[in-house]
């Protein structure tokens, strides 16, 4: 009896310690970056162009580049990903073909991002002659986040109760009307989560971007201009020893952006849940 209770207590302590350690590591990393980076932040840093290769000045082009690249990537990946998910979940029965498709998307999810970068460089930048540009980077990132989008959307769609589909069809709705009026509205929270995860991943990506969007720190004027993202800017500043201080400042902005995206996701999810429970 006592031995049972003792082992129970040991198990709980170990599990609690593991949880605490995880939290501590996350808090340490974020705290470290913010401690070094926050003092660098100023209006000038956020809203002016870099000078002297980034030794001085700000990071405005990198902020613009990051936002433009990530938004473009999502704009491409969202219709493709949700469309695929709807097709897989609603219009196909589980066959060998769907298993192959699913296996394919899972493989895609496991490929290191630098491979996507290489592919994007060879295919978009060179073969399609897009050059180092926002559009080449966005297309590459879109391919990279597609598996996440497909998987989360498909799961969200499958979690909509089958009985709702039956009712809708029994009332004379076609399958497409059912998808539009019943399935997608109720799968929306899950789809939004997938979009936010993908957005967060695009913001932080380096390897896939540096090969495809390049690293020009001029302010991009069109989708065909090269651009530098925050992550790439940070990489170059640190790697080439240009300015450790500016690198930490950039990292702080990046970390805050990712935290903000995740926070926004949770807030949106909370809102959705409340609306559904009403």
């Amino acid at each position: 009896m006592n031995a049972h209770r003792a082992s129970q207590r040991v198990a709980v302590s170990i599990l609690a310690a593991a949880t605490f350690l995880c939290l501590a590591i996350v808090a340490f990393v974020i705290g470290f970056v913010l401690e070094k980076g926050l003092p660098q932040l100023s209006w000038e840093f956020l809203f002016t162009k870099p000078r002297d290769m980034g030794k001085a000045g700000g990071i405005l082009p990198a902020i613009v580049g990051t936002l433009a690249l990530s938004l473009m990537a999502i704009a491409v990946a969202l219709p493709l990903g949700v469309g695929t998910a709807v097709y897989l979940a609603e219009y196909t029965r589980e066959t060998r073909v769907t298993k192959v498709i699913r296996f394919g998307t899972d493989c895609l999810a496991g490929i290191p991002s630098i491979i996507f970068g290489l592919f994007g460089y060879i295919f978009f930048v060179t073969t399609l002659k897009m050059g180092w540009s926002l559009i080449a980077g966005a297309l590459t990132l879109a391919i990279m986040v597609l598996p996440t989008l497909i998987r989360t959307s498909e799961e969200a769609i499958r979690s909509v109760p089958q009985s709702w589909r039956e009712v809708s069809m029994s009332l004379g709705a076609t399958r497409w009307e059912t998808v539009r009026k019943v399935v997608l509205p109720n799968a929306l929270p899950g789809i939004v989560t997938g979009v936010m995860l993908s957005f967060g991943r695009s913001i932080g990506e380096t390897a896939a971007v540096i090969f495809t969007a390049g690293s020009s720190f001029r302010l991009p004027k069109s989708a065909f201009d090269s651009a530098r993202t925050l992550a790439v800017h940070f990489y170059i500043l640190a790697r080439e020893g240009i300015s450790t201080d500016k690198a930490y400042g950039t990292a702080a902005v990046l970390v805050i952006a990712v935290l903000a995206v995740n926070g926004l996701t949770y807030a949106l999810m909370g809102g959705f849940m409340k609306r559904k429970a009403r």
Binding site: E166, V167, S168, M169, S170, L171, G172, K181, R278
Partner: protein, 251 residues
């Protein structure tokens, strides 16, 4: 009078297994047909064959003929979506869509392209009254259908079906999860509805068939054992198995 529905040698297979084994019967217009039988006798499969809902499941195959007003439901000219607009269905479990009470009722009419607010409003009141639900929900039509009690939800589902103005209404054990008062409400609604609709009522509750239906069909193991006026089936059945079932000796 020609029957509303003629079923001829109807067979339904799920993955090669024959669930419904060659059923033939006629359903008269403006009558309630009660379908009784123990669990697993293919009552629901029969019902869902009438509006081609079985085929939404993988591995289902149907043979034989179902004529609604003389038109073959399984013929090449029949569009299942159009058919389901004419044939309404209420399921065993109440399934309100995650919408307001109002939007639940107008779901079908909206699909049919009805946009006129006054027309939709009128339809909502008419159908909720016909389902004996209006007085309980008239002040909260904008509230969620999911927040109603089980009995209210099932009456909402009936109202939603009525809003399609279906000629034929199929009910699949609509009262299986309901209390006696809600059940009485639904039966009362059905007895009025048969003036304008033809109704097929599948039920596990033999007494409900005796109370509510004009004719009764007894199914066993995927076959139709016997069908006739409800009074006769319950007092003087011609088949021994029917007698055993309605007197409660098995099932």
């Amino acid at each position: 009078m020609t029957p509303k529905v003629e079923v001829r040698d109807l067979r339904v297979f799920f993955g090669g297994e024959e669930a419904l084994r060659g059923v033939s019967l006629d359903i008269a217009a403006n009558r309630i047909l009660g379908v009784i039988g123990p669990a697993g006798s293919a009552k629901t499969t029969f019902l869902r064959a009438l509006d081609r809902m079985n085929e939404l499941k993988a591995g289902c195959r149907t043979a034989g003929r179902v004529l609604v007003d003389g038109e073959d439901v399984y013929g090449p000219a029949c569009d299942p979506v159009a058919l389901r607009k004419r044939v309404g269905m209420v399921f065993a479990m109440p399934v309100p869509l995650p919408l307001s009470i109002y939007e639940n009722v107008v779901y079908g009419p909206r699909l049919n392209g009805v946009r006129n607010k006054a027309e939709l409003d009128g339809l909502v009141e008419e159908c909720l009254r016909a389902a004996f639900l209006w007085d309980e929900v008239k002040d909260r039509l904008g509230g969620s259908g999911l927040k109603l009690s089980g009995g209210q939800q099932q009456r909402l589902c009936l109202a939603r079906t009525l809003a399609m103005r279906p000629e034929l209404i199929l009910l699949d054990e609509p009262c299986s999860g309901l209390d006696p008062i809600s059940t009485a409400r639904i039966e009362e609604a059905l007895s009025l509805l048969k003036e304008r609709h033809t109704i097929v009522l599948v039920t596990n509750n033999t007494k409900q068939a005796a109370r509510a239906s004009d004719e009764t069909a007894f199914f066993l193991m995927g076959e139709l054992v016997e069908m006739g006026p409800t009074g006769r089936i319950f007092t003087n059945p011609s088949d021994k198995r029917t007698e055993d079932y309605v007197t409660g000796r098995f099932g």
